[in-house]
Symmetry: C2
Subunit: 332 residues, 2 copies
Amino acid sequence: MTVKYVDGKFQLSDMSTETITENTVAINSQHNDLRLIFILDRLVHHLHDFARETRLTVDEWGMGIDFLTQVGKMCSDIRQEFVLLSDILGLSVLVDGLSHPKPENATVGTLLGPFHTHDAIEHEHETSICSEGKGEPLLIQGLLTDAEDNPIEGAKIDLWECDENGLYDTQYPDREEADMRGIVYSKADGSFVIKATRPVPYPIPHDGPVGKLLQRINRHPYRPAHIHFIIEKLGYDKLITALYHRGDPYEFSDAVFGVKTPLLFDLVKLGPDLAEKYNMKEDDWYLRWHFKIITESQAKKCLIEKTQADLEIVGKGKYVLNEDGLPIADLD
Amino acid sequence: MTVKYVDGKFQLSDMSTETITENTVAINSQHNDLRLIFILDRLVHHLHDFARETRLTVDEWGMGIDFLTQVGKMCSDIRQEFVLLSDILGLSVLVDGLSHPKPENATVGTLLGPFHTHDAIEHEHETSICSEGKGEPLLIQGLLTDAEDNPIEGAKIDLWECDENGLYDTQYPDREEADMRGIVYSKADGSFVIKATRPVPYPIPHDGPVGKLLQRINRHPYRPAHIHFIIEKLGYDKLITALYHRGDPYEFSDAVFGVKTPLLFDLVKLGPDLAEKYNMKEDDWYLRWHFKIITESQAKKCLIEKTQADLEIVGKGKYVLNEDGLPIADLD
């Protein structure tokens, strides 16, 4: 089947459940944004194939329209229900992973999530990012190197976590300043030491249509305990990641699929020596982690290689790669 | 790749851009609604494959989220922007076609559209469904038979159209009663005669995000001139269709893909004989159409046969067919 052109101009023709797809793609392709043409081409193919493969009924289509409308209604300045929907369908973590592939010897990234802010303040080493009285104290001893284990000095390490109630500071209506979040810079030997609290599992917002969907399909809304990190240093690829508590009840069923095996940490007791050294208690918690980041050029190389390799396997439709290594429509 | 079960319970594991899909499908499948399991399975596969094939970037994903949010914000009691989005992506007409396949000798269906109401009144034959002063008069001479050309008596024929401004009565804020719409019942010989006006092309609502998308990809929002029909008779398959004006400037570029070749009508002048017979003018317009509807059992048979034949070609994933002939998850 081919679409019809008259005097070089596209014409919809012979529309049926079989021909609708190529006709829709053709009418969407009469402009010069080759990336958008390719994205709409694949979108329309998948949308139509979804309907054809499921024989989606008019009633089911209507339920889908209603659901999306409810999701839209739930969105506000402080609530993004479409992001939640993307999260619980595994799309968010997939898109993140596609854009940020890492070499095997580097720390993998994971979801940024909705709770990062830009008002966290810088902390001295060995101080706590948490206000007095929050949760069970945790000492974090970090090491930051490149992929070849050379220490990286002066990198900005931005970390944040929920409190003992499973809430981020931004979820409290009376929030006045940053809490449970802070910035520390790595020392000359790549090390950093910061105090925080033991993170706890918490549910994603589930009082809206996405929560109803989870309930309908027998899924819980919880995320396992974790601590978020953004690590930045000029010339290096910005790392957005999180560390997850191995042994958490939701370790194997994170509602938003953020857990990756290489990001699991064992939570252990601090013990007498470290407790004394850092002025904490033996029974406080201890987390030690070695972060490995890559240079911008390593990241770009990795992205382009992975994209090309993947597209040889999963590539569909007519495309060429643009200068960023992304597929765009090939109109020839 | 296979997903992991421990003690019969599913566990997310080894999450990567490759394994996320089967893990998401598995965690969505822990309930007993086999149709929903199958629909979510195909939805997640297509959503993820779309991202993988396009290498959708985080920024592009964000633009998609923003777009859907704007579409949601545009929805109200009198505006369904998600339906418009479905319409301009060809999904609505596809879903309609999948659910209502017709044998070759029957009139094909097409989009219902958003302008049907339930307050149209019954009209005598040879009277007009349009109030005084509306548009250019049109005489419609119809014949209703079954697929074997046997006349069908007493079928309810519900028709509606826009006025000379391209607006349906419901689009006027001061609407008091039905106009440009009416119901007529077929006579013993299957015939019906009703007066209306010549329909004109009109744009779908395009002051929202869907209109912006159309503009961005160089598409116009117009529909070619058409008249809607719903034909109902006990024991017969309800026909939802529309007739389109052949030669309309938008015949080959209907914004919502409703035009089907067998539904094109030639608009001709009434001429002296018919003008005299029906008390109209020679220069008024004339439309003659033979509608052929099928029985409910013919429709069900056609649907099941077409579904099975199509699924042999386009079927994906593990499924069996339920009693309605729809694919459901096959968990064995």
